[in-house]
Assembly symmetry: C2
Homo-oligomer: 143 residues x 2
């Protein structure tokens, strides 16, 4: 999660909503990205989507069942869905997302037996640090 | 939906699960793509994600509120989430997706007042033709 926090800080420095994501297999980081929606004008350029795509390229397969996605904010429906679509083994998220969180808050797309893959989800890791980056970003924007 | 069906046929010819998607503003088609997951080894390369990204590039904004997404199969959680994330005005889908459909079947991510955007959804357009392409593809694969 430390690496995902570094990514989130990079996003903040660029004026992007500060969310960072890392895909790792064991200790090995295979992809590391941050939110780039504003810079790229791409509605899908959330940190998780970019990291999952990079990881698939790096590993040469769209099936990421050996991997773990670490992300500083609880994924939105699109990103929780992308985690499901990539068959990722595990998702670890930091701060809860009460407005759109889809791995525990509004939905739990990771544990729906009707879907063909379930995700092992761990939440609240470095929650304070992950949330502080977002709170600071939005309070500066309002100022 | 005719153009989305043409895209789905293109996917089938390439051995991809045949789903096609088009983004249009009024009569103008701004993006037209098909599923490319196997060719690109990208877990996010569903027709809808690719079409939404192309449309955002074409229009120079991630906000697609003037646009309609036409897709031959009811979107999965990731793609329904991407439609939400792009603030798209409307989604028109063809065949239902009982295994993962998230605009009516398993979930209705388009009409959740807790989310910051709701989608106008029309379903079952050219349902028979949209479903036939998929049924034919899977029956040939099993043969």
């Amino acid at each position: 999660m430390d690496s995902a926090l570094v990514e989130a800080q990079r996003a903040a420095a660029l004026g992007e909503v500060p969310v960072g994501a890392v895909v790792a297999i064991g200790e090995r980081i295979v992809a590391s990205r941050h939110n780039e929606r504003e810079a790229t004008d791409d509605p899908t350029a959330h940190a998780e989507i970019l990291a999952l795509r990079d990881a698939a390229t790096e590993l040469g397969t769209w099936r990421l069942d050996e991997a773990t996605l670490f992300v500083t904010l609880e994924p939105c429906p699109m990103c929780a869905g992308a985690a499901w679509a990539s068959r990722i083994g595990r998702v670890v998220w930091g701060a809860p997302n009460p407005d759109a969180g889809s791995l525990g808050s509004l939905y739990h797309l990771g544990s729906d037996p009707r879907l063909n893959h379930e995700l092992n989800v761990t939440h609240g890791v470095r929650e304070e640090a992950c949330g502080d980056i977002l709170r600071k970003f939005f309070s500066q924007r309002r100022a």
